[in-house]
């Protein structure tokens, strides 16, 4: 009887404490680090936020939307070039549509971390073409206005695109 009463008291103590703690954590996680208070709280909450994967910015489609398109050019032993646009083969209805794009954004943004592995995988994928090298290229879109659309142009037309070489990766000899 006494234990039940204490358990009830304890419940009413623990429940609000946890709700407060968790609420504080999810409110602090996306907050900008502009004040000392936020920095202090974040330091205390960080292990909890990271361990349970709660450290999320919630900045959907902001400050920018989308990213550059990744293409690659394969050079074979005879010096012939083949250009591929991997996202063209993907379907909206399959989650790999987003996985591939996210991977491509990571390669474009951090080639020093991911380009070599991407190149090696692509060399292996196209082994039948006997590739010598893979050149990863980003196609960044520029401004495209409603007038451009009404005049029949496409946002990926060359006049709206800035092309940058991300990295050339040598394929291992067969």
């Amino acid at each position: 009887m006494i234990w039940n009463r204490w358990r009830q008291h304890l419940t009413y103590l623990v429940m609000p404490a946890f709700v407060t703690w968790h609420t504080l954590a999810i409110v602090i996680a996306p907050a900008p680090n502009s004040s000392e208070l936020v920095r202090t709280l974040r330091a205390a909450l960080q292990p909890y936020l990271t361990l349970f994967r709660l450290d999320n910015p919630w900045n959907f489609f902001a400050p920018t939307i989308g990213g550059a398109q990744l293409r690659y050019t394969l050079e074979d032993g005879a010096g012939a070039h083949y250009t591929f646009t991997p996202t063209q083969q993907l379907s909206w209805f399959h989650p790999d549509y987003i996985w591939f794009r996210d991977w491509h954004y990571a390669i474009i943004d951090n080639p020093e971390l991911y380009a070599d592995r991407a190149g090696a995988l692509l060399c292996r994928k196209h082994a039948s073409l006997h590739p010598v090298s893979i050149t990863l290229v980003s196609y960044e879109q520029g401004s495209f206005t409603p007038a451009d659309q009404l005049s029949g142009k496409h946002p990926m037309d060359p006049e709206f695109i800035m092309v940058n070489t991300v990295k050339t990766v040598e394929c291992p000899a067969p």
């Binding site: 419940t11 009413y12 429940m15 609000p16 946890f18 709700v19 968790h22 609420t23 999810i26 409110v27 996306p30 960080q46 292990p47 990271t50 361990l51 349970f52 994967r53 709660l54 999320n56 910015p57 919630w58 900045n59 959907f60 489609f61 902001a62 400050p63 920018t64 939307i65 989308g66 990213g67 398109q69 996202t87 909206w92 209805f93 399959h94 989650p95 790999d96 549509y97 987003i98 996985w99 794009r101 996210d102 991977w103 954004y105 990571a106 971390l113 991911y114 592995r117 991407a118 995988l121 196609y139 879109q141 495209f144 409603p146 007038a147 659309q149 009404l150 946002p155 990926m156």
Partner: protein, 445 residues
């Protein structure tokens, strides 16, 4: 002058009143139904999402895949943990992936929910942290909601766990009805999901208000011009009527900023909920973000009020009409089957009658000797397979049986013959069941 005893009593009474007010505001006893809808939806979405990833398992999360192990181990925070960091042989990836998919399925149907939910959470976090380049908004919301579902008492309704408990209560008495589970902790967890959704909308709006493309009202135009979301037909319409771009851009910000403030009020909640769901349906249909939109809508389920669900359940029962199953109480197998069947009837739509102790005015005993019957309010009496066929479509807990009774090939090849065989062998099945149980288990009324 009040003495110390009076003061102590006054303080205790005040504390008790404060405690009551606190618990009434924050921790009302709630059923877990809103969380169960989220559980079922999130479980199904995760199952489909990760099942589709199976052919690319090693590319996405393997050591020879897109994310080299040394890169992730070098760049990760020590609190970032993934089971994949500790795997070596390929079979370990395959085994864990298989276990994870099985747990997603179990989580969806609510089988052994109290522990499978933790494996689902560990899996979700492990996939995210093994290759963080693949994660986007949907993974944020999936992990956040899963965590709350893990600490919540889910699996107490709309689940096989609930079926098991109800079945155990009905074994002795077919008309026994267990009250729905409710607790203050369930209420607190529903509140946590609601706070999560409100915080998410708030920060989403704030990040847009700090972005030039959103402030200028051009964000929706830019979105559809990107290679990722390009849509010729939509761009043609937007280019001709650019005000639609402004409306959609500012409308999105307006919904997101209004949501965390107006969702709590009784009068405004339905509108905000409808607006948020409409917004996510647009994301799904126009941008192909099906998985993301679906999970967000599952999060919104937490705002569904108890009385809405009660009204919906009552309206469904009214629309479907009364149903009475008449069974043979001397047939142990029939009773056991009836217990299983009724355990899925969460809304209590089916009444039962044992014709041995309570003969039906509509169906004769001679008819009852041959098959189970279902009687309806309009006086119709459906025998055997037709009875089940009628019920499975009208009792939501039995919808999973609909293919067996309605898909022509399944119904013809499996459903009908199976039922006929069981009906003609029920005495044998009863005696076998009794022998297995170690004692005769017949229900007499």
């Amino acid at each position: 002058m009040p003495g110390p005893v009076t003061l102590a009593r006054f303080a205790r009474n005040r504390f008790a009143a404060l405690s009551r007010a606190w618990s009434q505001v924050l921790f009302q006893d709630r059923s877990t139904s809103p969380l169960e809808f989220a559980r079922i939806g999130i479980g199904a979405a995760l199952l489909l999402h990760y099942a589709l990833a199976t052919p690319n398992l090693f590319d996405l999360w393997g050591d020879a895949g897109w994310m080299p192990r040394d890169v992730i181990l070098k760049t990760r925070d020590p609190w970032m943990q993934s089971v994949f960091y500790y795997f070596g042989a390929p079979w370990e990836w395959v085994a864990f992936h298989g276990l994870f998919l099985a747990c997603c399925a179990a989580f969806m149907v609510g089988w052994r929910t109290s522990w499978v939910k933790w494996i689902v959470l560990v899996g979700q976090i492990s996939y995210d942290y093994r290759n963080p380049t693949l994660t986007y908004g949907v993974d944020w919301i999936a992990a956040s909601l899963l965590f709350i579902l893990c600490i919540a008492p889910v699996g107490r309704a709309l689940s096989l766990d609930r079926v098991r408990v109800v079945r155990a209560a009905m074994v002795g008495d077919l008309e026994a009805r267990l009250p729905p589970y409710s607790s203050a902790w369930a209420g607190a967890c529903i509140l946590l999901v609601q706070i999560q959704m409100a915080v998410l909308f708030f920060y989403s709006a704030i990040s847009k208000l700090e972005s030039d493309i959103w402030l200028s009202g051009d964000a929706v135009w830019i979105m559809f011009t990107t290679d990722e979301y390009y849509n010729r037909a939509i761009l043609d319409a937007l280019a001709s009527h650019y005000w639609l771009v402004k409306l959609a851009t500012y409308g999105t910000i307006l919904v997101e900023i209004a949501f965390p403030f107006l969702i709590w009020q009784r009068d405004t909640r339905p509108y905000l909920l409808a607006a948020a769901i409409f917004l996510h349906l647009q994301f799904a249909l126009l941008m192909g973000l099906f998985y993301f939109s679906f999970l967000m809508i599952m999060g919104h389920m937490s705002f569904v009020r108890r009385e809405w669900l009660t009204r919906l359940g009552a309206a469904w029962k009214r629309a479907m009409g009364e149903m009475e199953m008449i069974y043979d109480g001397n047939c142990g197998f029939c009773v056991r089957s009836m217990v299983w069947f009724l355990a899925f009837d969460g809304l209590g739509q089916i009444k039962v009658r044992n014709f041995r102790s309570d003969p039906s005015p509509i169906v004769s005993d001679a008819q009852m000797e041959k098959a189970l019957y279902l009687t309806l309010r309009d006086g119709r009496a459906l025998p055997g397979f037709e009875a089940y066929r009628y019920v499975v479509l009208r009792v939501p807990g039995l919808w999973w049986l609909v293919p067996l009774f309605y898909v022509p090939v399944l119904s013809g090849v499996v459903g009908h013959p199976l039922y006929n065989w069981i009906a003609s062998h029920r005495s044998l099945l009863s005696s076998m069941g009794s022998r297995l149980a170690g004692a005769p288990r017949q229900q007499q009324r």
